[in-house]
Structure formats: structure tokens, C-alpha cells
Symmetry: C2
Subunit: 430 residues, 2 copies
């Protein structure tokens, strides 16, 4: 007998229970919409929501056979991602009310698998830095993180089980960690980006927010066309590299305490944790990430800078112009650095199942000028492997803290399996 | 004193002469529009053209200072590429009259450099196989090649000096070769693809059609942000690998004679040509290309298959469905094959400046059911290096034949310099 409210259900349970006839997609969707109606004024996670449309889709699903691994699951879509039946504004006044001609490839995959697109979640301006209207669900004075702000806040606030985000620097891991949910950035290239407004072709990655690893894996299984992720493996005595680098000096004391506790708990549960001084220069890689992101942003947003300069935030305008000022030589050199780092990581991953590292510098900061610092995320994104953040306790102010697990490129199944095991341990600790 | 008609002018001359005040952008644009008015009924290269709009832009350029390396140059844009001020139909009835909210990144770069977007050139359906309305400029019974059919035919027919195309298999090289113009597919990743309707994320490449190598280099210099391409180098005794592989058995006798003649001419002019039995399996790579293209097409066009199945050609529908039927394991394996082939080519390019190979199986075939065979193009596209086709004579029916020069990834400047040298030799031969 379930006692938790229906809006708190996992995607995995929705699919199981709708298949057995114990639950309808309509009931789940109604529960989520009710939760949103109660909480949205406080959290402001949504850019657009159309309850009638969602309920119609739910009823249609209830009338038909099981459509796929997301049958009846309400899902939020970051508003940087195109939807043909809902406006898509990319977090910019330039595109307020814009209606794309198509669904993004990832949205088409979700619908084909029976997922219900509940609405569009708030993004920062073009998934870059200017914050949207969303606040931290546990403390409205704090940022929820960004750029996938609404996706993280909505899932954390139990408005729905799953939401899609994107990460170029730290746009999935940071808000997920700040809000206390699971964030999963799959291997670069796994999810087709057609319909995602680009910031940086070499870095943009579609991923997910969830409250359980199984749910996160399920949504990526569908979007990436990798059904093997529906069946995570049991894990025994995983080998985990405890990464250290100078950047860690930036971590807050409560975050350092949090990751030490997590390491101890995992070790006590049988993991082999080995200290590892970074085999690559993360500061060089961070610099490479910066140049690659900015140069590519300078191309991808050239039209907006030309046509609507006054409707871009001054900070973004400056970033685009800065990106346009680099030479191709510098860009090529930075791409080379990133490639070399990816190669250098291969031997590490032949010895370890994953790397462990704090997800953020600390708790979600107060104020809404910034969505927080992505220092602990950018270089992992540039390494192209899967990254998963799981909740691992709370900080000095009682706000959530998360730890990242990072895997080898393409080895998402192994990392998800490990992350599920780790989450079960860290959850029972609390 | 110039005696050729003004519509036959090169981009390089337009920029030079408008800068000196000897020519106006309006005069060039008028000449191109007149040529189009005369010839379009026969060639059908254009999906959309707006003479008044183009003339307004030209006059505005004439009133201002030199804007950049494309100042006053009329340019055609393949209709798979988004333009905010012109409809963009992607070669499909699904998007007839569709007006994108933005210019593609490459179009924004062209405009910022003073280029005049004259209109949209015909593409096959979503840059895949179903032919558009364009015919071969020299023989209306023959295909102009595809998918960049209109771009090749318009440049070949002297309607304008430059046009943008895209290549996933052989969609720049094949039509350029069939129509007797220069086609240049730059290194993969050089030109941002935002606004280009994707077929295959791992293969789609933006490139150009021109009548001279300098012009082709100029347009890519702007779109890729690589001004070094504006200054091609002198070439001395280049080393060229004469590639042989089983696929060559498919070449027509006139094409084999053509490439032998080209090889002899280049050797007589000082090039060192060395026979080279393929260091990779081109047939394995061709198979890898097929799977990668189809799987990614299955994702990128999933929305169109879901929403508008009846408006897709049966052949494309079958391709999308076929792409969706491969497992991720097969896809990963084929990506691995392609990566290994790219690595294996590095040592070859440490010994040679370029590889030489026929651009197509032979002359443009008669009939409009197909736009020809991309067998001689797909594996080069999958190798990610620059590919340039230059006219190299004519075949049994008097139709143009081209040869490809293929370079190392990122080494476009070297390949363009070599291609310019080769074109000067092959041109004077004829």
C-alpha cells in the first residue's frame, strides 16, 4: 500500500502501475498538475504549462495499449528545447511566444515512448547566465542553480518525476545538486540535439533531472535509443578514484565535509576508494572549455547579436562579442587540449569505475543575480563522459549538497549502476 | 578591360572592384538577377528568390563602407538552411512556406561580412534522396546531382559566383562535379550548423560551390571564421597519393581516363604522385557511414515520421524506419570503425599533401529519379578532412567530370592551396 502522495511517484512505478491497470496516466497527471497549482506561485519553475492539453494526452494514453518505457509519465522540458505544440522562448524576450515548427528529436522520442510533455521549464537566457524567474524550492531567497533551473526545481519540489535539461558547463549537475535531486548528463553525443537551441556545438549535451537513478536512466534510455539502460546492474566492490586538484581549494568547508562523509560511507559499504592526483591539468582544461564555449557561442548567437542586440542581456552580449574575438588558432589549440585530456583519461578509467568529486562549491547561494559557479562542472563536461550528481547530505544552512560520479565515455550503464548503488547507501545514511 | 559578362564575375573580383569604386554591389546583383531571369525557367535552381530585397541590400551596401570579405557578393543558400527573411522549406511539402525565426549561423556570418543573400537554392527532400525540380544546366535530361542541386546548377550556370551547400554523403562534391564547378567540403566541425536542418549530427557538413578555388576559400573563411584562408599559398612539388580501392571498379571508363589524364598533367607540372593501396578498408568505412547516417536520420527526422508520415516520400520514410531499427551496439561499433579509419589516415597525411580520387562514378546520369551515386564520396566525408572537387575535363557525352582532392583534418589551407595550383594546370589543359 502506497502512502506517499501520487505526485511524488517515480516514473518507474508509473509505468509498472499503468501497465497493470492499478493506475491511470490521467490520475498521475492530475496529481502533478494539482501539486503545480499549489506550489508554482512560490517556486516559479514553469515557463509554460497547459493542463488541458496534458490531460487530453493522458486520457488518450489510458485508452490505448502501453506505448513504451515512459507510458503515462509526465515530463517537463527545458524551454531551450523545441516543442511544436507549445511556445518555446529560449529564456529570451527575443523569442517570447515563439512556436517552433517541430518537436526536438528528444521530445519526439519521449512522445513515441508514451511520455506526457507537461510543459516547458524555466531556462536562463539561451541556457547561458542570466537567471530566469525560478527560485530554490526550499528557500526562495536562494538560486535553484542554472541553466536548467525550472527542471531541477520542479523535480525537487515533487511537481513531476522527470524533466529534461541541457549542460554546456554545469547546467544539469549544478541545479540538480543545489535542489537535492539526481542530475544525469549522459556521454556527449548520445542524445540527438536537433531542436535544442545551441550554445556550443562541441559541448552542449541533453540530459535529465530525476529523484531516482532508475528514473534518470529510463528517460535517457528513451532519448538516446539505448534500452540497455532500463536494466541497471548490481554492483560489487566498485573502484572509485578520489580526485584531487587545485580547484578543490574553492570548495566550502561543508562541501568538503560532505564528500568526506560520502567517501567513508561508500568505503564502509565495500567500495575501493583510491586517492588520485589529477592525471590531467583541470585548470588547462577549464580554460579550454571557456574558449571553446565562447567561440562557439559567438557563432551560434551571431544572428541574435546582429538583429536584436538590445534584447540580449549586457553580460551575454559581452560573452558573444568576446567569443567572436578569439582567433581560430587559439580555438584549435584549445580543442587540441580538450582532446588530449580525453585521451589521457582513458587509462584512469581502465583502473576505476568512476571518479568522485563535489558537484558544486557548496550550497545554493542566496541572491538571484547569479545561478552559481560551474567551476566543478565545466572540465567534466569537456571530458565527454557521463556525469551523475546524487544528493549526499546538507550544508551549514540546511541546503542540499551533491556529489558527482564521473564515468568513461560511453560507459553510462556502468556509471548508472554504480550511482544507484551509491544513492542507496547515501540515502540510508541520512 | 573585362569582356566577360558581369554575372560571370568572381567573388574575389567583386570585393576588389567594389572596394576601389569601380563596381557597385547593385550592378553585380542586377546582372545576376538578369541572368537568373533569363535562365531559371530552363534550370530551375531556385526555390525562392526576392529580387527587390536583394537589390535593397545591395544599395545599402553601396552606401556604406566595405563591410567584410564578401562585400557585395551575391550568394545562394541551400534551402535546408534557415533564413529569417525568406521561407525555408527543406525540400519537403511539410515545411512549404515555413519561415524560421532566425538566420542559420553560417548565414549570419555571410551577412556580417557583406554578402548578399540572393535567395534559396533547391535541395532534395531534407537533403536526402528525393530529387527537387532542378535540372542539369548543360542538359535538362540529366540530373544536376544532389542534394545541393540548386547551388551547383546556379553557380555552374553563371547565375552567381557562390552558393552554400551541405554534405552528409556526397551532397556537395557530386553535384559540383556533375555540373562542372568547384565544390569544397571543409573539415568537419569548421562551420557551425545552427539553423541547418540536420540529417546526421556526426556527418553533416556545411560547404560551398564556386567557380574558383579562391572564391570557395573566401566563403569558407567567412563562415568558419578563418581569415587565413583568404591568402592561399604557392605550391611546389606537392606530394599526392593516388588512391586505389575496389570501389574504383564502379567508375566509368571515361572517368578512369579523366583521372589518369589529370594525374599525368599534375606530374608533368612537378607534383609527386605515388600509388597508394588504401591503408583503410573503404568498404568497411562506407558501411559505417551508412549505419551512422541512417541511425542519426532516424532520430533527427523522428518528428516528421510521427506527425506527417504521408508527406514524406516512401523512400525517405523507409530510410528513417530502417535507421530506427539498428541497435545502439551496432551504431557504437560503426562509430568506432569510423574513428579508427580517421586515426589510420594520419600517417598517410604525414607523407602526402593530399589524396586524389574521382569525384563521381562518371558523368551526370540521365533521368531525374535519382541524383546519382555517392559511393565515391561517403567514405571521404566520414574521414572528416577537407574535400575539394575541381573540374577536370568531360566525359563520353560531353558532360563535366571532376576529380577530388582530399586533405588531412584541419589542414584546409594546404589543400585549398594545392587545389588552386591543380585547377590552374587542369584548366590550361583543356
Amino acid at each position: 500500500m502506497r502512502h506517499m502522495p501520487l505526485h511524488d511517484i517515480t516514473a518507474t512505478d508509473i509505468v509498472r502501475l499503468t501497465a497493470s491497470g492499478a493506475l491511470t496516466a490521467e490520475a498521475v497527471t492530475t496529481a502533478c498538475l494539482e501539486r503545480i497549482a499549489q506550489r508554482e506561485d512560490a517556486v516559479r519553475a514553469w515557463e509554460y504549462i497547459d493542463p488541458d492539453h496534458a490531460l487530453r494526452e493522458a486520457r488518450e494514453l489510458d485508452r490505448g495499449p502501453a506505448r513504451g518505457p515512459l507510458h503515462g509519465v509526465p515530463i517537463g522540458i527545458k524551454d531551450i528545447i523545441a516543442t511544436a505544440d507549445m511556445p518555446t522562448g529560449y529564456g529570451s524576450p527575443i523569442y517570447a511566444g515563439h512556436r517552433p515548427a517541430w518537436d526536438a528529436a528528444c521530445v519526439a522520442a519521449i512522445r513515441a515512448a508514451g511520455g506526457i510533455v507537461l510543459g516547458k521549464t524555466v531556462t536562463t537566457e539561451f541556457a547561458s547566465s542570466r537567471a530566469g524567474k525560478t527560485v530554490h524550492p526550499a528557500d526562495p531567497a536562494r538560486t535553484p542553480g542554472g541553466s536548467s533551473s525550472g527542471s531541477a526545481a520542479a523535480v525537487a519540489d515533487r511537481m513531476l518525476p522527470l524533466a529534461v535539461g541541457t549542460q554546456t558547463g554545469g547546467s544539469i549537475v549544478r541545479p540538480a545538486s543545489f535542489c537535492g535531486v539526481v542530475g544525469y548528463k549522459p556521454s556527449f553525443g548520445w542524445i540527438d540535439r536537433h531542436g535544442v537551441k545551441p550554445l556550443s556545438e562541441s559541448l552542449d549535451t541533453v540530459g535529465v533531472m530525476a529523484r531516482s537513478i532508475d528514473d534518470a536512466a529510463r528517460l535517457v534510455a528513451v532519448m538516446a535509443g539505448r534500452p540497455e539502460l532500463l536494466d541497471l546492474k548490481e554492483v560489487e566492490r566498485p573502484r572509485i578514484a578520489v580526485w584531487s586538484c587545485d580547484a578543490l581549494d574553492e570548495a566550502a568547508p561543508d562541501m568538503l565535509a560532505c564528500i568526506r562523509r560520502a567517501i567513508d560511507s561508500l568505503a564502509q559499504s565495500g567500495a575501493v576508494l583510491v586517492d588520485c592526483r589529477e592525471p590531467i591539468s583541470t585548470s588547462d582544461l577549464d580554460k579550454a572549455h571557456h574558449v571553446i564555449e565562447y567561440v562557439e557561442m559567438g557563432r551560434a548567437l551571431a544572428f541574435e547579436l546582429q538583429r536584436y542586440p538590445g534584447q540580449l542581456s549586457p553580460a551575454l552580449r559581452k560573452r558573444i562579442e568576446s567569443g567572436q574575438s578569439y582567433t581560430a588558432e587559439t580555438y584549435d589549440e584549445m580543442k587540441r587540449v580538450a582532446r588530449q585530456c580525453r585521451r589521457a583519461m582513458r587509462s584512469l578509467f581502465s583502473e576505476f569505475d568512476a571518479v568522485i568529486f563535489p558537484s558544486t562549491l557548496g550550497e545554493a547561494p542566496t541572491g538571484h543575480q547569479s545561478t552559481g559557479n560551474a567551476l566543478f562542472n565545466r572540465f567534466w563536461t569537456a571530458l565527454y563522459g557521463p556525469v551523475i550528481t546524487i544528493p549526499a547530505g546538507s550544508g551549514a544552512a540546511g541546503m542540499p549538497l551533491g556529489i558527482q560520479l564521473i564515468g568513461a565515455i560511453g560507459d553510462d550503464l556502468r556509471l548508472l549502476s554504480l550511482a544507484r548503488w551509491a544513492q542507496s547507501i547515501l540515502r540510508s545514511d541520512r
